[in-house]
Point group: C2
Chain length 334, copies 2
């Protein structure tokens, strides 16, 4: 799967800025693939991109209309359908991160087929997969792991890819979640595959390679989150990382959505990941810690990073505030 | 889901005794729900049950025709279809463990609908699930875990259920794989659910209870098998076991199908399972070890069990050769 780029970002009639998080992520990390935005009403959130009609965007080269918003229930609103049909008639492919599949709408399926356009449902995966085998593969791999969900694993992965490339290391981001898939144009939503194929899907995302230096694999969930640890475990075994970066949100009180589950310590999470990772890569090691320090002011954040750096003898940073250069520097020697 | 019982076991035209393993398992553990067998040719393997016509079996009370054989590719052979259609016309439900869904055959789907019969595809799960939450549930749970796949987890679970009930403990087997689902008439094939729902599905299989003493949950895979550890991890968190029994095949040289993966030690597997289990049940503990000792003669097997029992201070047995009474006895005090 490769979603044709560049994109026209479809924002529908969404007025909650949080609901446009996916579209904003694409623009943040890949501005060069965002031709413009399409909004159905003047009240719709704006990303600050040029408002383009379908025809204008297509003329400027855009090839996929990306439904980059979340909406209640994950269903495609009726009010969006005329625009989506028109896009297919012009020649756009459609890509959606919604729960409802584009192809389950008969009209969209017919129009796509008639116009030889593709429908990409990045939350789903319908391809053939094999079960994992744990065989050592060529190439070096870094995996971001977390103390929980939503602690910055995708952000850290993309920041590392960018920084490593700036430092002269040829790094490629490997997406395992929907926003990441839009950003890179390919990948597999690991939490959406059939359970038997978690590690096999991860092996497929980052196969043998010798044409670049590092694959940076986006982690999911946490080994200590009782809802999603199975996904994290299979992802870890399939990724067979040489290097891991731990991601954590400072001040989080309990596992997300589970007030009865206290946050595990960093030591617990690192030990669990190291032990499990070494099943498929005995050289697996931590090369840094990335914190979301938004609960602290900048001075406090700097002090806390220094304290943890001394405690763990690893570079510790907030990737948003302080960047990830010190972590990337570790990777020249590995 | 509850598959109506008793069953007529359909053996098709299968001549390889190994291919009838599922049907044999149903008969071994639940002879009282097996009304008879249906074979299409004289050469077809026999389970030693009465050969019954569809009409005779229905008259004797059978309500589901169970396709209890494995065949290459997992597809329903054309030669079986007339019998399956006739079964639906008589009023049988159909239950299959094959990869191909019964309902994907349009003729079978139509006949089932016309006759108000149900089609059960136990390898698949289409129901609604919630993600796991790790909340403590009422009731006591035992989970079988393994050093690998196919080391006797289902056998051990069923042997324990039977022995515990004989010892006056009210125990209920909870199926997580296809043969187990046929045997109990319900359950979820855990490796077939979407990855996000592994622990949630396990929580659904064994919800809060206070009407019996123990749920005996069938384990799958192994935390140290790089193909399937994600499934095992989610199952372990969802099961929140009070008690675990380790299953192992003596003499296995490497992880099944993966000659490059050496077998882990029993200590490694027990430590990994205890650490992970305690996330959702801090009281989790091992209560015994079940060995498949078929590589040893009976004297050697007895000596080896004693040696491990002394080493781990736990009852150690081969459930096929020596039964599981000593393990069941542990469970009166827990």
């Amino acid at each position: 799967m490769q979603i044709p780029q560049p994109y026209l970002l479809f924002l529908g009639d969404v007025t909650d800025p949080l609901a446009a998080k996916t579209a904003r992520g694409i623009l943040q990390w890949r501005p060069e693939i965002c031709t413009g935005q399409l909004r159905l009403t003047p009240e719709t959130v704006s990303l600050g991109l040029a408002d383009l009609s379908l025809a204008d965007a297509y003329a400027k080269g855009a090839r996929t209309l990306v439904l980059g918003t979340a909406n209640a229930g994950g269903f495609i609103p009726q009010t969006w359908l005329p625009t989506l049909e028109q896009a297919l008639d012009i020649g756009f492919n459609l890509a959606s991160g919604m729960h409802q599949r584009l192809g389950d709408n008969r009209l969209l399926a017919q129009r796509a087929s008639a116009n030889s356009c593709e429908l990409f449902d990045v939350r789903h995966f319908d391809g053939e997969l094999e079960v994992g085998n744990g065989k050592a593969r060529a190439g070096k791999r870094l995996l971001t792991v977390g103390t929980d969900c939503s602690v910055g694993k995708m952000y850290t992965s993309l920041a590392l890819e960018k920084e490593m490339n700036q430092q002269g290391l040829d790094a490629q981001f490997c997406a395992t979640g929907q926003t990441g898939i839009f950003i890179s144009g390919k990948g597999i939503a690991i939490d959406a595959v059939v359970a038997d194929f978690i590690s096999g899907a991860t092996e497929a995302i980052s196969p043998d390679f010798d044409d670049h230096d590092w694959d940076i694999i986006e982690g999911q969930g946490s080994l200590l989150n009782p809802a999603f640890a199975g996904v994290s475990m299979g992802l870890l075994h399939g990724a067979q990382p040489d290097a891991m970066v731990l991601c954590h949100e400072v001040g989080r009180k309990h596992i997300r959505h589970l007030p009865h589950m206290p946050m595990p310590t960093l030591d617990t999470v690192m030990a669990a990941n190291l032990t499990a990772a070494r099943l498929t890569n005995p050289r697996a090691t931590f090369v840094g810690i990335c914190l979301n320090t938004s609960a602290l002011n900048e001075n406090e954040a700097r002090t806390y990073c220094k304290q943890l750096a001394s405690q763990y003898q690893l570079p510790v940073t907030d990737p948003v505030r302080f960047g990830v250069s010190a972590i990337a520097e570790q990777l020249h020697q590995l």
